[in-house]
Symmetry: C2
Subunit: 230 residues, 2 copies
DNA sequence: ATATATTTGTGTCAATACTACACAAAATAA
DNA sequence: TTATTTTGTGTAGTATTGACACAAATATAT
């Protein structure tokens, strides 16, 4: 066994953008080369020989869209023999969440154009990228239910409503503000600051911050975040 | 970009064996070739060019250990540039759970020997296989808490104590039999049969069965299995 | 300046879910 | 025939969940 093998390894990124209440989008590029020339696709590309998978996906994302991500989580590896019509390509996919308006997106290398699309109104995607996207969306929702994802995303200090809207948007459903706040505060890793912020119209909001130390300590004790109910 | 790339794609399997109360083991092979000749390792090997990842991992497992698995779940893809001292090898890992005594394990191809090891008493492992194993063990425990893993594993009809022991073993802690049974039965996808089985000494046990249809229907409705507490 | 709209902040109560706990029944083994 | 092993079952106290509404603080419109 251990025959000659000619399989390429690629990475693809599903980058979700949370802008404001109800606005969940995903970052796509328009392919500039065949196959699937001019079709929208997830940013990604081949891994370089001495580069880690994480480095590769961040590099491709940067090159193709201009977006820089600190944290991307590995999602799944797609390896069906015919998923790329040219060669055998195994794709290791990653996903992450950012605020779109923190970036000026660009076009570069073999991508013609990069653009945010609302998750509920996607164009046709190249390769098996729709499958990858679906997997990522499911995982994002699932993850939210037992991990305080989103704290990386919010500003260091944020009004509570930011968290509420983030959850409501990703889960695609309303949450009970009182119960949500009670639950989150009960965990103890979100703390009130004594700052107050006035952004929109309405009563000014206290700012809160995420205490990562406390959170990590809890995790070490086998703590299991649980907000299934909200 | 799209430079020449010479990366190999491999698969590795972390197969857990649940035998009886307190006996959780993992299937290893002793490598017959360098590097790491004579060191214990996870079963696995290179993916063939026209073979899916799932097919590859099942084939390698069969060849190296004689174990046939219906269901293996993808775990994680390990791709650090130096994880294999020879070439760049990206490994897509899988994990699963079986009853060890259902198989006669053998030795074959480039594996010298296959053997079950208790998870708490592992030998030194080749490559980064200890990392892979740790990831799998963590995932197995986590999965148990929100999915009825183990029904594939048990006989079609089983006494309730089998489930209890499976959970207790994998979680590595005692469970309250009454509360556990109440909770599982409340889900509605485990049904009592009218058969009775006498195996060990003690009162004979009713046999139960898993109703996969009901389970799948629940999943479709966004149902979230939850037995964190047991 | 005043009225209107918007957003934040907060408590209670009923219903459900969790957890701790012990003993009889049915069989085998000694 | 007695001891041992394993199954099967209910209750009550406690904790968590989820439903629900209105006043406070500000911006915006007239």
């Amino acid at each position: 066994m251990a025959l000659q093998q000619d399989i390429k390894v690629a990475v693809d990124a599903v980058v979700f953008g949370y802008e404001s209440k109800g606005n969940l989008s995903v970052l796509l590029i328009r392919r500039g080369v065949d196959p699937f020339k001019n079709t929208w696709a997830l940013p990604g590309g081949l891994v370089l020989e001495h580069e880690s998978l994480e480095a590769a996906v961040k590099r491709e994302l940067k090159e193709e869209t201009g977006v820089t991500m600190d944290y991307l989580e590995q999602l799944y590896t797609f390896g069906k023999p015919k998923r790329d019509p040219r060669n055998r390509v195994v794709s290791v996919s990653y996903f992450g969440l950012v605020r779109p308006n923190h970036f000026k997106i660009k076009a570069d290398t073999d991508a013609d154009e990069a653009k945010w699309f609302p998750v509920n109104d996607l164009p046709k995607l190249a390769f098996d990228h729709k499958t990858i996207f679906n997997t990522a969306e499911k995982r994002l929702k699932g993850k939210l239910l037992y991990q305080p994802i989103g704290f990386d995303l919010l500003s260091a200090e944020f009004p509570f409503s930011d968290l509420e809207h983030l959850y409501a948007t990703i889960l695609g459903q309303d949450i009970d503000r009182r119960n949500f706040r009670k639950k989150i505060m009960s965990f103890g890793f979100v703390e009130e600051t004594n700052k107050i912020q006035q952004v929109r119209s309405g009563r000014p909001a206290k700012l809160f911050k995420f205490n990562k130390q406390k959170y990590d300590a809890l995790l070490d004790n086998g703590f299991y975040f649980d907000i299934k109910f909200v």
